[in-house]
């Protein structure tokens, strides 16, 4: 009996230690790797020498193939209906709009070789290239654009991103059934000439024409399989640098050079394979094993290790805002001083450096850093609204709370900070909870909910303070500012202001960049000086790409352009 008990104990002990050991292996390959590198430098070097050994074999011609991981399966590759990042990343490489974007995300000629703009910037006349062709050899015509846009704006199509076309004349009225579809501000002059009329001037309109929702689609192709044409490689006809040769759902999208593309000399890759590994840990393993050349998502926990030891790791700019929205109508956040106190009491650099650890920037406003308007960075010019990016302003926050009638946090109602279930959001919320406790002596409860439940709660104003974020649709401050107009479905603050709406309207309807810029700053000032929301950080884009992949470009909107990419020195 004792023997048996001993045996069981022994087994349990063994199991326990091995489980713990396995757990360690899994969680902290960092240490393991470092130890290995420190002690076995030689073997590591040998390994590195092993890899280039393949070179002699391939020397005559390096295979021009890039395998890059994007994540989830695209929901659709229909430019008029796509809304998510993976789909967009296929579309921008396989389709082409009237304009393209250059290195600075400014418009350059695309399908249109040139264009005229009328005096008040509400009418564009585009002259299309004669040699712009679809992947099946047929010419790209002005009719293709007209068809594509009318299709998107037709309520029957029910395109989620229809609102991207609201700059076009009558678009919004058409979707609301107040105007007929023929009244849309687009007119075919002839096969190669397209006239576009806007609702009002928009200074970033030329860049919008490079947005996927504005891409052309072919009427005969769409009408042959209206629901399914963009779901299979066989039925997709595109007009961009690449065409889709294979799409195995949830596995990979294979793109090959489009021989009918007007500028096919620019395209050096024979093949661009986009894998669809949805698990970041696996993608990282595949990258480290050399099975893929790059990957979009990197597990947060691995970032410090990668930063220290992997030269292929980089943190790219990304236009995104991570913020806490206050419900401006409920106690205690209907009080500006309380909102300001809570905003100032957060140490943003601690959050960025020790909690989220993804190379983000502490946020001091609504518009992220990295948007250059009229020669200056919008954020730098806009200032930081008393928010110190490097530390919490404890004294000032305490004073504000006292002035608001809650000395040392006394008398505050129960406060719940809500976030949607996610490890990163949770860690940040815990850190903020701790900071509010320590700096303001306020007890905040955390509440988490599944994503769509969280969104419903926010929409209904059923919260006090909650996490939310926004990613830019286009590289302009307006994509962040017009979130908060009264009519916006994404304004969860319960705060509406005619003055704010007015600034936005004015900024949108002037062609004078400087004036527009002033209005946008005024709008942001109005919004931030009353601390309507509490900005936390501006997003970043951690990325892995082997150094032999050259010529690629990832825009801060998250689009990876492969049209000029090539392999060298593999």
């Amino acid at each position: 009996m004792i023997k048996k008990a001993l045996a069981i104990l022994l087994i349990l002990g063994l199991v326990f230690t091995s489980v713990v050991a396995c757990g360690n292996n899994d969680v902290e390959p960092t240490n393991d790797d470092q130890v290995k590198e420190d002690t076995k430098d030689d073997t590591e070097d040998n390994k590195k020498e092993d890899e280039p050994k393949e070179e002699p074999k391939e020397e005559p011609k390096v295979e021009q193939v890039v395998t890059y991981n994007m994540g989830a399966d695209p929901e659709t590759l229909d430019p008029g209906k796509a809304t998510e990042n993976v789909g967009f990343n296929v579309i921008i490489n396989t389709f082409e709009g009237l304009t393209n974007l250059d290195e600075n995300d400014k418009a350059i000629p695309g399908v249109a070789k040139k264009w005229d703009v009328n005096e008040d910037a509400t009418e564009f006349t585009f002259y299309l290239r004669d040699d712009a062709k679809w992947s099946d050899g047929k010419p790209v015509t002005a009719y293709d654009f007209e068809y594509a846009w009318k299709r998107v704006i037709n309520p029957e199509t029910a395109s989620d991103y229809a609102y991207q076309l609201f700059y076009l004349k009558n678009a919004e009225d058409i979707i609301n059934g107040e105007a007929s579809i023929d009244e849309l501000g687009v007119e075919v002059i002839d096969e190669r000439t397209l006239k576009v009329t806007l609702q009002g001037p928009v200074s970033w309109m030329l860049e919008m024409f490079a947005f996927p929702t504005y891409f052309p689609v072919r009427k005969d192709v769409v009408e042959e399989n209206p629901d399914t044409w963009a779901l299979e490689a066989d039925t997709i006809v595109s007009n961009g640098p690449f065409k889709i040769s294979e799409w195995s759902h949830n596995e990979e999208v294979v793109m090959v050079r489009n021989e009918n593309y007007w500028d096919k000399e620019r395209v050096k890759l024979d093949k661009y394979i986009m894998t669809l590994i949805n698990e970041d840990t696996t993608a990282l393993a595949a990258f480290e094993a050399g099975d893929i050349d790059g990957t979009d998502g990197v597990p947060r926990a691995e970032i410090p290790r990668l930063q220290a030891e992997n030269d292929d790791f980089m943190i790219l700019p990304d236009l995104g805002l991570y913020y806490y929205t206050f419900n401006n109508k409920v106690e205690p956040f209907n009080n500006e001083k309380v909102r300001k106190a809570f905003t100032l009491a957060i140490d943003r650099s601690a959050i960025v450096n020790t909690v989220s650890m993804g190379g983000e920037t502490p946020a001091t406003g609504v518009v992220p850093v990295g948007i250059n308007i009229g020669g200056e960075d919008f954020r730098e010019a806009g200032g930081d609204y008393d928010i110190d990016p490097n530390k919490a302003k404890i004294e000032e926050a305490k004073k504000l709370l006292e002035e608001a009638g809650y000395p040392n946090g006394e008398g505050l109602p129960e406060i719940t900070l809500n976030y949607n279930t996610n490890e990163n959001h949770q860690r940040i919320a815990e850190a903020v909870q701790e900071m509010w406790k320590k700096n303001l002596n306020v007890n905040v409860t955390l509440g988490n909910a599944e994503w769509k439940v969280h969104l419903s709660n926010l929409s209904e104003g059923n919260y006090q303070v909650a996490r939310i974020g926004w990613g830019a649709d286009y590289a302009h401050p307006m994509t962040f500012l017009d979130l908060f107009i009264s009519a916006s479905g994404n304004n969860y603050t319960q705060y509406t202001s005619e003055e704010f709406d007015d600034y936005i309207r004015k900024a949108k309807s002037t062609i004078d960049i400087q004036k527009a810029n002033d209005y946008m700053h005024k709008a942001e000032d109005l919004f931030m000086e009353r601390y309507t929301v509490c900005p936390i950080y501006f997003a970043s884009d951690p990325e892995l790409m082997k150094s032999y992949v050259k010529g690629w470009r990832k825009s801060p909107l998250g689009y990876l352009y492969m049209d000029k990419a090539y392999i060298e020195g593999k």
Binding site: V19, T76, A158, N250, A285, S456, S459
Partner: protein
């Protein structure tokens, strides 16, 4: 036998209808709908979508329409993947999941049962300890740990197997191992304990006393009784494993159907939630029926018709 099957068939239908009803009610009880999104849709577009998917109809009508569609084996269009039908999602994903599942069940049976027998025969000797040690590991370590460890060791460090996908036969090995970890260990333990129980019974002593060769004692007399609990377990196991594992398929980036069990709920993809649940329950019910039929063959004492 015929009467038994008819009775079972009717009870299966009732079960499926109950499953549909409960899933339908629960699904509509969660806040948020298929078109709740971070970037809010224009009202007119949302209206058009609701119209297209008949979400404007009263719930009872949606329910009745759905049941009628299911009766025609039409699981409806997916809300998340426009243009895809739920039938198509299942057709696309099931073969991969089933291939992995069959391999995993075979591995489980071919290794789990012999291990259990060996362990029972060598009770409290080293083979028993080894098998039970491994089995305890297999039951306690979650499959995502097994999966990531396998990838780390065999794909990244040793580069003998691919890290992801199913391009060739080698890529099946790691996922099947990860998928089998739990069931394999569980079956070994189950076989062992039930074998031990049977071996201790009087009739085995009688058989042995008669001088029957040991292999016959074990395979003809002992195992036949000892296998019954294993059969009971294997039915639902096949249903569960063949319809895919969210975790293993996600980690190895396999295009199976396991993902739909979780993602459809996150997306409030109503038709996919329903379709996938019905598919799984129908599969499970059929497996349980098969188990009952197999009982009759393995153990003549069990009579199905009564």
């Amino acid at each position: 036998m015929g009467r038994f099957l008819i009775r079972r068939f009717i009870s299966m239908l009732i079960t499926i209808i109950l499953v549909i009803t409960f899933t339908f009610v629960l699904m509509h009880a969660i806040p948020g709908g298929p078109f709740t999104a971070e970037k809010k849709l224009p009202a007119a577009v949302e209206e058009a979508l609701n119209e297209r998917y008949h979400l404007n109809d009263p719930l009872w009508k949606q329910y009745v329409d759905y049941v009628l569609d299911v009766a025609r084996f039409d699981l409806g269009p997916s809300f998340q993947y426009e243009g895809q039908t739920v039938n198509r999602l299942i057709e696309d994903g099931f073969p991969t999941s089933a291939k992995l599942g069959i391999l995993s069940v075979l591995l489980t049976l071919c290794i789990g049962i012999p291990f259990g027998i060996i362990s029972a025969l060598k009770q409290n000797k080293w083979p028993d300890y080894t098998v039970m040690f491994l089995a305890t590991l297999g039951v306690t370590i979650p499959n995502f740990v097994i999966a990531t460890t396998l990838i780390y060791v065999f794909a990244v460090k040793l580069s003998v197997f691919p890290t992801f996908g199913i391009k060739n036969w080698q890529s099946f090995i790691l996922p099947v191992l990860a998928l089998s970890g739990y069931s394999l260990s569980f079956i070994s333990r189950l076989t062992r304990s039930s074998m031990l129980e049977v071996l201790g019974q009087d009739y085995i002593r009688t058989v042995r006393a008669k001088g029957i060769p040991e292999y016959k004692v074990i395979f003809k007399h002992a195992l036949r009784n000892a296998i019954l609990p294993v059969v009971t377990y294997v039915g639902p196991l096949i249903a569960a494993i063949l319809t895919g594992s969210f975790v293993v398929e996600r980690i190895f980036a396999l295009p199976g159907m396991g993902r739909h069990f979780v993602q459809s709920i996150t997306n409030r993809d109503y038709t996919t939630i329903m379709g996938i649940t019905i598919f799984y329950s129908a599969f499970l019910i059929i497996m349980i029926l098969l188990v009952d039929l197999v009982y009759g063959i393995v153990d003549p004492r069990i009579k199905l018709d009564k």
